[in-house]
């Protein structure tokens, strides 16, 4: 993990408000573990002040054809324009400079993964799952990807996963792509078919809560990748904490999402009680 002043190789719209950003990043193919993230500094000025966290989508080598020069090692991020920082990001041109801190955080733990892995993503939550799928396949696991979103535009990177040989299932709220409904319905069916699966999930909190409930009921292991407001990304500011499993008002058990996460074993965390939902 280190801080790199680097260059934008490409930055292009993908679908809807989602963009694909390639940054020159030697060694990331060696360094980056599935589920890790980077902190991007977007401006030399002080507004916006803080870096923005993004999951590492994949590492690739751009052939000379693309770069016009030598082949270039790139890290690729997928991002959705949701506010000032990401809007600013979408205005960057190839050749512009950004500062890239990473790879950061604890990624997915692949050691005890079952023969079948179910990857569950909500929208842009698919970003950190590509490297995971790649590595699980390399380890001989069967990988199935369950993608959910509001509409067609939220379903991202299907082609990339299919090129890896991952079977993909899609559900959208409005039925504009795949089946109509929630991705958790798909998960419920798959858990019926693969009762011994390992589950890995990334997406909005509401989705993660539902996934956690299903996995707990099915008694299958689950790892989740969380998002939290972050200032530093390196465990210094304590801004990004989530309550751990043993957390109580007077007996605190806070974990840093940036350093002890962003990937947690579901059992490490404190999930809201069923009735409080």
């Amino acid at each position: 993990m280190r801080d790199l002043e680097t260059t934008v190789l490409y930055n292009r719209p993908l679908a809807g408000e989602t963009w694909q950003l390639g940054l020159l990043a030697p060694d990331y193919d060696q360094l980056a573990r599935p589920g890790q993230f980077v902190m991007l500094r977007l401006t030399a000025g002080s507004d916006p002040l803080l870096r923005r966290p993004f999951g590492i989508f994949r590492c690739r080598t751009l052939p000379p054809l693309c770069t016009g020069q030598a082949s270039q090692p790139a890290v690729e991020l997928l991002y959705k324009v949701v506010g000032r920082g990401t809007r600013l990001l979408s205005s960057l041109h190839s050749g512009d400079r950004v500062a890239l801190l990473g790879p950061l955080g604890r990624g997915f733990d692949l050691t005890d993964c079952a023969p079948t892995a179910l990857l569950v993503a909500g929208g842009i939550g698919v970003a950190p799952l590509y490297l995971l799928a790649e590595q699980l396949l390399r380890q001989g696991r069967q990988v199935r990807l369950l993608l959910g979103g509001r509409r067609r535009d939220d379903i991202l990177a299907v082609t990339e996963f299919e090129r890896l040989g991952v079977e993909t299932y899609v559900a959208t709220d409005d039925g504009s792509l795949g089946e109509q409904g929630l991705v958790t319905q798909v998960l419920e069916r798959k858990l019926g078919r693969f009762p011994q699966a390992s589950v890995f999930a990334c997406g909005p909190m509401a989705m993660l809560r539902a996934v956690e409930r299903l996995c707990r009921q099915a008694a299958v292991p689950l790892q989740v990748s969380l998002e939290a407001l972050m200032a530093c990304g390196v465990g210094a500011c304590l801004g990004c904490v989530v309550p751990g499993q043993a957390h109580q008002e007077d007996q605190p058990d806070y974990r840093c999402t940036c350093k002890q996460g962003p990937v947690f074993d579901a059992q490490e965390l404190l999930w809201p009680q069923e009735d409080s939902q």
Binding site: R2, D3, S46, V234, A236, C237, V241, P252, Y254
Partner: protein, 319 residues
Amino acid sequence: MNPPVSCPLEQTENPPVQLAVDLAGLRLRNPVMPASGTFGYGEEFAPYVDLETLGAIVTKGISLRPKAGNPTPRLAETASGMLNAIGLQNVGVEAFARDKVPFLRQLQTPVIVNFFGNSLDEYEQVAARLAEIDRVDAVELNISCPNVKQGGIVFGTDPAAAAEVVGRVRRHLRVPLIVKLTPNVTDIGLMARAAEDAGADAISCINTLTGMAVDLQRRRLHLANKTGGLSGPAIKPVALRLVYQAVRAVSIPVIGIGGIASAEDALEFLLVGARAVQVGTANLVNPAVMGQIVSGMEAFCRERNIGDINDWIGSLQEE
């Protein structure tokens, strides 16, 4: 073996810049150190900055018992700044002594431990415990954190209360006592003098400005704690003014803090009279920043033929 010829010549032309400063008897190899709460317990930043190149290390604020801090959200970004309402989450003085000091013990760099209490008694107890730990080379008394309802705010805004806590803590300590002031007062000079008179060996200022952020979508305040502490480049002009005033109010050294993100920023605080500086929010944005500040400071001095940083400190031209 003869040394290369160019070397002594170069040295005559470019003698090394003397960056060391004396802070209430503590010798710092340069005036640059982290601000409490933005550098963890030091260890977290070892991958980014050589800790042996810093003037000192300043820890996260420590209390008698472990402290959970505030619920989330604890952060909000603002224009050229940020609000934090971490609420002084920390491991407590015992775990600090047990888990964090061993790492710090390996370093040459002086260690300054920031601490606070929820009552006069607690302040005293932490001070007494810190006095027992070797490698606590100085302490920084936080009487100014605005985040904790029962916390420092009372001590930090009332001169008499400040004097009392400083005096009580002073008795337990042989190492230099730095008192950290809040900017949320009408007259910083009054507070600085109260601390000096009660036995402080140095002043550090400023802590964060109390602020708020609104979440329009949810019709709520953004931070769970409602208010938070504003830090970062946005506050630098206010910090410079307060440091200027504090320097002129007391005769003990003043450490300048607030929005420092570059060598130039640091040099500005030194120019108005700060003996040293602390870098806070900038560490969060750029974990290698302090190394860059030290080398930028050296380059600046070299260019202007300032052989000793002490000649720059306080050398502001005023008619």
